[in-house]
Amino acid sequence: MKKIINDVDAIVDEMIEGIVKSHPTILKRLPNTTVITRVDAPVQGKVGLVSGGGSGHEPAHAGYVGKGMLDAAVIGEVFTSPTPDQILEAIKAANGGAGVLLIIKNYTGDVLNFEMAKELAELEGIEVAEVIVNDDVAVEDSTFTTGRRGIAGTVFVHKIAGALAENGVSLTEIKETCDNVIANIRSMGVALSSCTVPAAKKPSFQLEESEIEIGIGIHGEPGIERVAIQQADDIVTTLISKIQEDLDFTNSEIAVMINGLGATPEMELYIVSKKVHEWAKSHNIHIIQSWVGEYMTSLEMAGFSITFFKLNNEWKDLLKQDVATLKFHV
């Protein structure tokens, strides 16, 4: 494991320092926390938006903080949900008097810590709502299980919520729209190689030279099955077919995200994107806008995920609305 780090225990702290030193006109750090906010947070009268999770998924989530998107990102240890005290600080810093929405990815750890923070914030008189993103169709959605995971589709939820908040929409309405948005987003990923949590010193899992893992989670959680490496077009077809099986996108206008997991060259992401566009066309699915790049990574994992987001006219406009973050652009 070769990593460009200093002290393994200081990685998150040094990364946060690096981010705010690099972009002081957009972002600031709340002193003595692992929270990054807009420089101008809290924005009075605007609903505050807080997201976050373990680190190792950069540019998520600090890359999505800024006008038109998030007010604060809470950053946990690598692949580990942040703690309620930190999330509470983020909520307080994001609260401009109109309440705060927590955008949570559906992992037990994230849900537990964010919900505890929500309770603490409510005790302090802040109105807090939450939405839980669960776009990963690799995992079965059942009331007997933890349910589908939240992966790259979360970025679209940030964008829609951010645009609504900027437009002065109320907390209740934003939450309602986001729940509806989440119901229209589906994703699935594939890994070609593993990744190494710095403190763990060895790779999270092993893949043979010719194996890939279909349905990987963004922390290297296993997916649906291991198969032999295939042609790009076949891998893409497997992923989208599963997405389409879960939610029918036929005759819809959609936004697409082809998200690199860390080590996959952009060249390959565009080969994927070509097939996605061809497949969509032949299935009468209309791609309105595409994002291709690294949006929600898993350290240095090779692989990618595909996200489909079924749009209505309102959401189409919100997606295109101006935004001033480091890593999401329209």
Partner: protein, 206 residues
């Protein structure tokens, strides 16, 4: 009869920390097999902070010790296990509040802890999580007189071993479905260390 003094409670946490730190890599490896490979790292960080904290303070009651433990775990562990262990120790502390810790109080404290974890995690016995060990401990304490509590580590170990062949339905391991079988649940393993530490502390000073 007091079965856990303030000094013992402090010692309990120190021994737990030693066991967790000594087995950090093992816990992480278990979590790599069926999770995301951070359980040992998380708990090592958490219990080191716990010890650093309680070393600095003089406590009046076991409840105060455990409340401090709960707050530290909650603030330093993160992930799923942070809030769950935080809840467990907080519930114990609340139950012990204003009381000396005798057999009855301790049993009740563990019962409340189990309730708390199950409620937070929405998990039941047999779902291959740390709930399995904690609930088994509660059952054992209910049935056995305090003189026999020395057998606690074996009970925990057996339960932890039972998780190996289970299919996980909660937590990150549940994504693996059938493939989660064949691996011990990391949270059950760390819970075993906690109760093993408790037994050692009570034996050495009792």
């Amino acid at each position: 009869m007091i079965i856990l003094t303030v000094e013992q409670a402090v010692e309990w946490m120190k021994v737990t920390q030693q066991k967790v730190s000594a087995n950090k890599d093992l816990l992480t490896e278990l979590d790599q097999a069926i999770g995301d490979g951070d359980h040992g790292i998380n708990l090592d960080r958490g219990f080191r902070e716990v010890v650093a904290k309680i070393d600095d303070v003089t406590y009046d009651s076991v409840a105060d010790v455990l409340k401090s433990v709960a707050m530290t775990l909650m603030a330093k562990v993160g992930g799923a296990s942070g809030p769950l262990y935080g809840t467990a120790f907080l519930k114990m502390a609340t139950t012990m509040q204003g009381k000396e810790v005798d057999e009855v109080v301790f049993k009740e404290a563990v019962n409340k802890a189990v309730e708390g974890i199950k409620q937070r995690g929405k998990a039941a016995f047999g779902e291959k999580t740390l709930v399995d060990v904690w609930e088994q401990v509660a059952n054992f304490l209910k049935e056995e007189p305090v003189e026999d509590w020395g057998a606690l580590p074996e009970v925990c170990q057996a339960t932890m071993e039972d998780t190996r062949e289970m299919m996980a339905t909660k937590g990150r391991a549940s994504y693996l479905k059938e493939r989660s079988k064949g691996h011990v649940d990391p949270g059950s393993m760390s819970s075993y260390y906690i109760f093993e530490a408790l037994a050692e502390v009570r034996k050495s000073e009792g």
